[in-house]
């Protein structure tokens, strides 16, 4: 059964130095508040996993919390590069970053394999591409029925997965909808999970029998953090701040302005500060 706890308790209990950590969210529902708590608690030597590391992982890399990252597209969507990620790869600042790079299709399949308790995923992928030459975790497997050679990648099994969702009930059953990305698979693939939510309600009342629900017994910790996905968005609660994503390009370009931003907006801030972004307009 999931425990409903504070964000500081959830992170302290579930995220350990050296852990493999997936904070997923495919543009929608990115767990910013939880990521900031990881930074505030000074977690070290994390191996980060995410299909689309964007600003949140730029922040974790820039403060030196990450020893490595497994990913498939690392950029500021629609804006450009992640400058802290680039600084780490190109100049080893603030520390070297070990990278394991895949394609989206491979990452999505690898999460599914993790959720399904399989050792690896296969796909018709990487044909003619150079990534298999630089990533020893991309191998081949031959179909025993047709002889076709397919790409194989190891299943993703994070120590802990952190996501943001729309709402939970008091038992800790969690609902997410809209662009659901790979979050369900990432939670089910992980040993432990933290899910921050916009609101906690008496009855979950899924809008349809096919709604994406993570049942309380498949989740470790649930945390109420209204606005916790800002500057990404929560469908039906608040919109994505495209203006912030554009502004981040300037903030992150320079090491000094990045560090000043982290001090003011992460180290000296609290999870409750996210609430001001959650102007509910859902029914």
């Amino acid at each position: 059964m999931a425990k409903i706890v504070s964000l500081s308790e959830a992170v302290a209990e579930n995220v350990r130095d050296g852990d493999t950590v997936a904070m997923e969210g495919f543009t929608h529902l990115i767990p910013y508040a939880a990521g900031h708590e990881v930074i505030r608690q000074g977690k070290k030597d994390l191996f980060l996993i995410r299909m689309t590391p964007d600003i949140l992982y730029d922040q974790l890399i820039g403060v030196g919390a990450a020893r490595g990252m497994k990913f498939s597209w690392g950029g500021n969507p629609g804006v450009g590069s992640l400058h802290r990620f680039r600084d780490a790869v190109e100049n080893q600042w603030p520390r070297p970053l070990e990278i394991e790079e895949h394609s989206h299709a491979a990452m999505a399949n690898a999460y599914e394999a993790g959720a399904a308790n399989l050792p690896f995923a296969m796909l018709r992928g990487y044909i003619g591409a150079d990534l298999p030459k630089v990533n020893p975790n991309i191998k081949n497997v031959t179909c025993p029925f047709t002889g076709e050679v397919l790409a194989a990648v190891p299943a993703i099994r994070p120590d802990v997965t952190i996501i943001h969702a729309l709402r939970a009930d008091r038992k800790g059953n969690v609902l997410l909808e809209g662009i659901v990305g790979v979050q369900k698979e990432a939670v089910l693939a992980a040993r432990r999970s933290i899910i921050t939510v916009e609101e906690i309600v008496e009855e979950l009342n899924p809008p349809s029998p096919n709604s994406v629900v993570l049942p309380t017994w498949a989740v470790t910790s649930v945390v109420l953090v209204p606005g916790g996905a800002f500057p990404s968005y929560a469908q039906g609660y608040y919109a994505r701040s495209n203006a912030f994503y554009i502004a981040w390009d300037e903030i992150a370009r320079d090491r000094g302005s990045f560090q000043a931003w982290i001090k003011e907006n992460v180290m000296e801030a609290r999870p409750e500060d996210f609430a001001k972004y959650a102007k509910k307009h859902a029914a």
Partner: protein, 256 residues
């Protein structure tokens, strides 16, 4: 004749390449603009799919990111990312994929990964994302990129997604049944692979552009087809649709 910019010409030329029957895997930026201009002009029933999981989306403003709420709000349905890549892309249900890149070579292979050695890159780019499998699993690929010596280069430092590989029947030799890149639309001209060698060849030059300009802006000795036509200039309708959607988009993103 109305004035237009090279980028507007590129977007409109790309939009014209799409048909009403296309099921199109759309990337952010120029491809997204082109696909939505097609939808709002000659191809109202085109199916637009974004890799975030939105299928049959009809955004009123162009998304800044691949997963803006606008895409989900206006979609026929939205699926998880694993389902998108497994059932819809790998399942062979997408006719046309739209790609761009930092660098391209004469066989339409693309690099969006690194400039310089992989382990010690001069420039670390965002990486492939969906591109490696879009390139091999969509029925055909359109590419939009501004023509420049930095972007159109002799030899790629890294192949993120394969176009025609080393040319000729390289795709078939690797077991691929899809066509690969069939058209590269730039701000100065349109290129298509030679039917036999698969080397990109100029087939159409945009109005007001010279052959010399095309050659000077390409990093290899670019070839011209026997018959090169002039790309028809944008119509009033095409331009006004593109400018309207760009204006709506700018306003929406600045406000958010």
């Amino acid at each position: 004749m109305t004035d237009f910019t090279p980028t507007e010409m590129m977007t409109i030329a790309a939009a014209r390449a799409l048909t009403n029957d296309d099921v199109c895997f759309v990337g952010i930026g120029a491809p997204s603009a082109a696909c939505n201009v097609a939808r709002l002009t000659h191809a109202p029933d085109i199916t637009l799919i974004y890799e975030s999981g939105t299928v049959g989306t009809k955004p009123d403003v162009l998304p800044l990111s691949i997963g803006d709420g606008e895409l989900c709000d206006t979609a026929l349905f939205t699926v998880s990312v694993p389902e998108m890549f497994r059932y819809w892309l790998q399942g062979g249900r997408i006719t046309t994929g739209f790609l761009g890149g930092a660098q391209i070579d004469r066989f339409a292979n693309l690099n969006t990964t690194v400039v310089g050695p992989y382990d010690h890159p001069k420039v670390r780019l965002p990486g492939g994302g969906g591109a490696p499998e879009i390139a091999s699993n969509c029925g055909q690929i359109f590419i939009t990129m501004a023509l420049s010596k930095r972007g159109f280069i002799e030899k790629l430092p890294f192949i993120t997604s394969m176009g025609h590989g080393e040319g000729g029947n390289h795709r078939e030799r690797l077991g691929m049944k899809t066509k690969g890149p069939t058209r590269v639309i730039t701000d100065l001209c349109i290129l298509e692979p030679d039917p036999v060698t698969k080397e990109l060849t100029v087939v159409s030059i945009h109005k007001g552009v010279t052959r010399e300009q095309v050659s000077e802006n390409c990093g290899w000795a670019i070839k011209f087809a026997d018959e090169v036509i002039e790309t028809p200039a944008p119509t009033e309708t095409e331009l006004s649709v593109l400018r309207d959607i760009n204006a709506r988009t700018k306003k929406a993103h600045e406000a958010a």
